[in-house]
């Protein structure tokens, strides 16, 4: 438990992805089975201990600590588990109970026995261990480790390709001993689960100049839809919908699962579709990240699967076939399933790259974000290989905005003001519309940092309010309506694409310009 709590302490304060991966790898190397696998499951939320509630913990604390003192402390600390971890009477004897024992007893103890068990354990732990233990028991870890990041750390630890780790992941259960054995030179575990995830084929960006070296006759093209890329699997009665990183998102999409009336694996785009109209990404976003979905939302935001590719059909693995052959199978498959919630992504007719450029410039639907270009003779390959598949995205949207606030970055950027909030004009005041952390060169970062230091009008803790004089060009991939932002709009993937020292702040864009860009 001590090693696990030390790991959580470091992860909680590590902002960089690579830093987190480094901590995880060091932990995997130093911790035996099954503790490391259980720790992994705790972090990715796959352990599923849910019986301990905040109210149970509050009641526990009130038995040991005066309620006024506890309330004053909780006010100051702001986190229940942390407050209890810190305020709990000091242990007279510390014991480093192995993580697997703690997990097992939490699992088998009936709910009525949990308060006494937790109190007993807290009595022999350090504050940092108490914190980790309470977070473990309540299941709300929030240390910024996604399943994807944990799998990446594991792949790096074993020198394994990430795509292969993702492929077997869903068949494995905590404490993942066979996975660690594989990472340490043993045999690759068999993908044992029904409806397994297959590593997704990804594209690399391109443009007209790069395409001119290629023969258009070797390629097919289709629209790039602005939803999320998914993999729909139906296998011996098990149906699953995966994100392209292998997260199982089935519970949020019962309407899609219902549609998967086949035996096979389809690669496609998940969209919200009402009648013939594809809804903007913002509508799909309302359906994402849910554990359950209400009937009302199913009706107001119906999901749709637009099929791109066929990986497995009726037990046959088609990934080795050329795209053209898979496409023919896909067309037959989609027709035979005959579900209105699933259709085919149409191929685009073009003879020359200029034809495709013209199509890309005037797509028939605003939910199209460019074109995909696929080599006809290419098999379905895991990962992002350069050559077989290209994405040629539409040009980003652009707006000229004024820098309003700045915060210092972390790691290599510590000491530099690198995180910016920018705004546009709404009448004669500037309203914040987004945040950007990148897009600028190192030299531009230095210049921006100098600007921040010389033009601070106020500081609020780590945040500096800036004299509203610096105009930047912000590029972004899309715009959603947002009730959470004062401006009413939220940008996707914003970055600072140019610093407009030539432009006075008064000539930055108006909020209305952004509103007009809304889908």
């Amino acid at each position: 438990m001590r090693a696990f709590s030390a790991l959580l302490d470091r992860l909680a304060f590590t902002h960089q992805r690579n830093g987190k991966i480094a901590h995880l790898m060091q932990f995997f190397a130093a911790t035996p089975d099954p503790a490391r696998g259980l720790a992994l499951a705790v972090m990715t939320g796959d352990l599923g201990l849910r019986a301990v509630t905040p109210s149970m913990l509050r009641a526990l604390a009130s038995e040991r600590i005066d309620s006024q003192l506890f309330a004053l402390s909780y006010d100051f600390v702001g986190d229940l588990a942390e407050t209890i971890a810190l305020i709990w009477p000091e242990a007279t004897v510390l014991s480093d109970t192995p993580l697997p024992d703690l997990v097992e007893e939490l699992r088998i103890t009936p709910k009525s026995g949990l308060p006494a068990l937790i109190a007993k354990r807290l009595d022999s732990m350090s504050p940092s261990e108490r914190y980790a233990y309470l977070k473990l028991a309540t299941g709300g870890l929030r240390v910024g480790v996604s399943g994807r990041l944990a799998r990446k750390a594991l792949a790096d630890y074993g020198g394994l390709p990430l795509t292969e780790v993702e492929e077997v992941w869903h068949g494995l259960t905590p404490p993942y001993e066979n996975l660690f054995a594989w990472a340490e030179g043993g045999a690759k575990p068999a993908a044992a689960a029904h409806a397994p995830f297959r590593p997704v084929m990804l594209s690399t960006p391109t443009d007209l100049a790069a395409l001119t070296d290629l023969d258009p006759a070797d390629f097919d093209a289709e629209w790039k839809w602005d939803g999320i890329r998914v993999q729909a699997v139906s296998d011996c009665g098990t149906r699953r919908l995966y994100s392209r990183t292998g997260e199982d998102i089935s519970p949020a999409f019962p309407d899609i699962l219902e549609t998967l009336d086949f035996e096979g694996t389809i690669d496609g785009e998940l969209l919200v579709r009402r009648g013939d109209a594809i809804a903007p990404f913002g509508d799909l976003q309302k359906r994402l990240g849910r554990k359950t979905v209400s009937r009302k939302l199913l009706q107001s935001h119906p999901a749709h699967l637009r099929a791109y590719d066929l990986l497995v059909w009726q037990g046959d693995d088609l990934r080795g076939l050329p795209f053209l052959a898979r496409r023919a199978e896909l067309e037959r498959a989609v027709a035979s399933v005959g579900q209105p919630r699933m259709d085919l992504s149409p191929l685009l007719a073009f003879a020359r790259w200029d034809d495709l450029a013209a199509l890309r410039a005037a797509p028939p639907d605003s939910v199209i974000e460019g074109v995909m270009i696929k080599r006809r003779d290419s098999p379905y390959l895991a990962g992002r290989k350069k050559g077989p598949w290209f994405k040629w995205k539409r040009d980003p949207m652009i707006v000229d905005a004024v820098l309003l606030y700045a915060q210092r970055g972390h790691g290599k950027r510590s000491g530099f003001y690198s995180d910016f909030t920018f705004g546009v004009w709404d009448g004669d005041s500037l309203v914040p519309v987004g945040k950007a952390y990148f897009g600028f060169t190192d030299a531009e970062l230095k210049a921006l940092d100098r600007f921040v230091r010389n033009n601070t009008i106020e500081t609020y803790g780590p945040v500096r309010a800036l004299k509203p004089t610096k105009v930047v060009e912000v590029a972004f991939e899309g715009l959603n309506r947002s009730a959470r932002h004062k401006s009413g709009v939220a940008m996707r993937f914003p970055r600072i694409s140019r610093i407009r020292d030539d432009k006075p702040a008064a000539e930055a864009d108006q909020l209305q310009t952004l509103r007009d860009m809304l889908p």
Binding site: A12, I65, L69, P127
Partner: protein, 336 residues
Amino acid sequence: MIDSAALLQVRAEGLFCPAGGFYIDPVRPVEKALITHGHADHARAGHGAVMATAQTLDIMAIRYGNDFTASRQVASGQQQVGDVCVSFHPAGHVLGSAQIALSHKTAGTAVVTGDYSRSPNPACAPFEPVPCDILVTEATFALPVFRHPDASDEITRLLASIAAFPERAHLIGAYALGKAQRIIMLLRHAGWDGPIYIHGALQRLCDYHISQGIPLGDLRPATISRGQKADFAGQIILGPPSAFAATWAQRFPDPVICFASGWMQVRARARQRGVELPLIISDHVDWPDLTRTISELDPSQTWVTHGREDALMRWCELQGRDARPLRLLGYEEEQD
């Protein structure tokens, strides 16, 4: 019966002793001031006369220049000031820090702790308990969540991090008086005998500690010439917290930002400051030591100067102790 008003009163300038005609740690210039220790919010320049320990007077001269006061007097033993007998006793907070004991033949005795700590500190003399009728205590960390761990364990965590990330510099934020020298001494005791790099703002106070017999070892200025960033890989650099917001921090390779303070016990505080390795090292009493001190000294009245007095008042109430909050203004609660 104690006539407490003759001994101590709260005025706009700070804590005033009418019987002696002086202030203790006044926040504005006054005619006569007794100073507990050299931190800037307690020791200000511009008083008519200052009485303090020799080390505190030296530190004030280093910080403000030799003309920081019109006249000065070194505290030693029992000294009569007006109708009050005063004596200074080590507070264990920073070099030169003292509690001030006041004794009046009819009004009784009071001890003004200033800031104090009871955890071992190789950079200053340990706290000395002084019995009294009125204990005037600080309450910076007066919440039961504040239980400072053993400082040497925090240094062990720092050294483990340096071993785990040998390519990165470890940049430690520490206040220039007291905290910085304590960290250096803790590192020396833990066996780190290589150079420790310090920000220019720490230089004179470190030199002064060395002159007072505190062996800080090999200290080097954290300056850098162009293109030698990598020289700081695996090294320890100390700077005042203010320097972390300055361009100074930009010169080190992918630094691990550490901050040594009692506030680091609370995660949100550490995250707010962008700290990657919080080190819980405090120069103040934590909750157990604060409540233990009150219990041990068993004063008939406990006055709370600054900090989180609500929780301490509640604790006194639960203990059946007579206590009052002074709500003194002008002391920076964040400084630790």
